[in-house]
Symmetry: C2
Subunit: 243 residues, 2 copies
Amino acid sequence: MQRPLLSVQNRLLSALPPDDYRLVAPHLTQVDLERGRLLYEPGDRVDTAYFPHDGVISLMTLMENGAAIESATIGREGALGLMGAVSPRQSLSRAIVQTPTRAARIGASQLHEAWEKSAKIRVMVDMHTEALFGHAVQSVACNALHSVEARFCRWLLTCHDRITSDTVALTQEFLADMLGVQRTTVTAVARTLQEKGYIRYRRGVVDIISREGLEAVSCECYEVVRRNYERLLPQPSVDRARG
Amino acid sequence: MQRPLLSVQNRLLSALPPDDYRLVAPHLTQVDLERGRLLYEPGDRVDTAYFPHDGVISLMTLMENGAAIESATIGREGALGLMGAVSPRQSLSRAIVQTPTRAARIGASQLHEAWEKSAKIRVMVDMHTEALFGHAVQSVACNALHSVEARFCRWLLTCHDRITSDTVALTQEFLADMLGVQRTTVTAVARTLQEKGYIRYRRGVVDIISREGLEAVSCECYEVVRRNYERLLPQPSVDRARG
DNA sequence: CAAAGACTGTCGAGAACTCGACACAAATGC
DNA sequence: GCATTTGTGTCGAGTTCTCGACAGTCTTTG
């Protein structure tokens, strides 16, 4: 049975030449991941990789007191658990599904076999690792220097790039956790952004009204990370529109 | 001519089995890097890897306004430019010598050849990448959550682990840059730490008096990152005490 | 030795954010 | 339909850190 055409595909997979793609294709399973689904906790063995077609997966660093701060995000330009293709390893972070996500899933051992056979796949893993590292080091600086308002906008923009809708389901409480700030601070920031007409929000839902506005308030980090992905990861060569 | 015995060796190199070490040894050059030496700027081609024997190299993320925030550090437990062993690439960060550093240097292409021949070296690069990534994601959370005082202590402890002395040469001004805070804030924090008797400082020099004290004030991030390196990187199997 | 430069100490106003508290509103479950 | 849970709005005191300013001190250099 054939699944419907997918409007958007994972960029890493769609950039693979056909011969290389055939190495992984038979092992890919299409899955729908609901919001809040925990994919990895720190210390878990990385036994599966996920290539999102749309949606956002967050990598979160856990602290001893239970705080969980977002350290990077993964969308259709990347993959979760890709480093497990190189060798078995434990997750360093919590990986949690941020927005409902369609993804292609593959077992780490099967991905590893393809990785051994295909130079293109090895390059893909390598470049993705580099881009994800770039994402992390930019966030280190961002969290040290930039206001909650700027980081809030950066987060929304990054999310918006990776979903197909202008509406994001998230509570202010959860966003506060991810940014590592108080909920009351997020409430205040959300209010001023709404007054400026850049977003509209209601209980658990944010509508993005003006990307331009958000880009103006956001820090440079949004663009830096985005360009880094563009530079490192090849553009799609083929649109593989089936599951 | 034989160089004097080295009291400390780079841990990555000394953990390599003899056969694997022989692949890189002929190409290693011992160098002394003075404080402040710029090894890479963002965008530079990564053409050389450095394995510090002692001393600290900082990876710094540059912002558009010229700010430079430390996103990770590299000492004898790691190496700079190691990802260049896998494939040619550009540096994402500024890499600057923090304290006078003795290091073994090797060209990226020569390291790449060894990397192709030796599975042990590939594992070394892979594990180091993972540890460095862990360092970065922890710092993302640390900068979002922890006080300047805690981060100051964390920085001193990390530095102390990687040098052979209890004295660190650094100005408060420079440290303020690295932590991404005002100099006056660093001055205030340094004063309270000195009053507690944990450090002593004078113009451009900090003496570490009480590691225990610093550990108590530091955040958990110091230990988390340290343990991560311990877990991922093997302990020395041989002490190679010559250059 | 004098001058310049680099580093530190201190002050104070103000902004950003924390932290606890409580009221209210919307969604959910029975 | 009612009770419970969950998410939001707001308030206010308090803390941390910013940002500019300026004085003082140590070091280097000519």
